[in-house]
Amino acid sequence: DAGITQSPRHKVTETGTPVTLRCHQTENHRYMYWYRQDPGHGLRLIHYSYGVKDTDKGEVSDGYSVSRSKTEDFLLTLESATSSQTSVYFCAISQLAGGNNEQFFGPGTRLTVL
């Protein structure tokens, strides 16, 4: 998984609680992304980062926030978890080798919100 770890790998939480997912990379890649994967929707971008403290919203950012204080870590926070945020969350990294946007994905975090 290209030097990408995600924690936790599985989490069950209750509606209304805050949740933080962590993505850690050892590749020193500049770009990091958070996607969610849901049946029938493929992967959809939540937020991404193009450098330390530089982040931007994706297609499905409502209810999520992110932070990147170090190159290697990208945190995704669900401010108040809802059942609609039950999903599998993937982190990805990219270094734009040769101008190509090759993104490498982590193993995922399965989140269940009851």
Binding site: R30, Y33, Y35, G42, L43, E59, L96, G99, N101, E102
Partner: protein, 112 residues
């Protein structure tokens, strides 16, 4: 709004056959088109990718065909094997560093 449309949703192919998955897009600013392979419980893995300045790219049994005028691209898996059974996603992005826009995926089953 899905920016990349993928078909079919599922596909069954016999061992040794050719698997073909198609994708279409509207945004002419897209300039990078990768295909990802995903096994159950794993993250997507980059399989092969193409830029719009070439019409075909081949890596082993996997080939991307790209038709810029039709705004379509496809993945061909030659001599399909049971180990190829997985979900395949096409994607597209604009400028380097920008996020990928994914198709909804195709579940491929290769029967022995």
């Amino acid at each position: 709004q899905q920016q990349v449309k993928q078909s079919p949703q599922s596909l069954i192919v016999q061992k040794g056959g050719i698997s073909i998955i198609n994708c279409a897009y509207e945004n002419t600013a897209f300039d990078y088109f990768p295909w990802y392979q995903q096994f159950p419980g794993k993250g997507p893995a980059l399989l092969i990718a193409i830029r719009p300045d070439v019409s075909e790219k081949k890596e082993g049994r996997f080939t991307i065909s790209f038709n810029k005028s039709a705004k379509q691209f496809s993945l061909h898996i030659m001599d399909s094997q049971p180990g190829d059974s997985a979900t395949y996603f096409c994607a597209a992005s604009t400028r380097p560093g920008y996020a990928l826009n994914f198709g909804k995926g195709t579940s491929l089953l290769v029967t022995p």
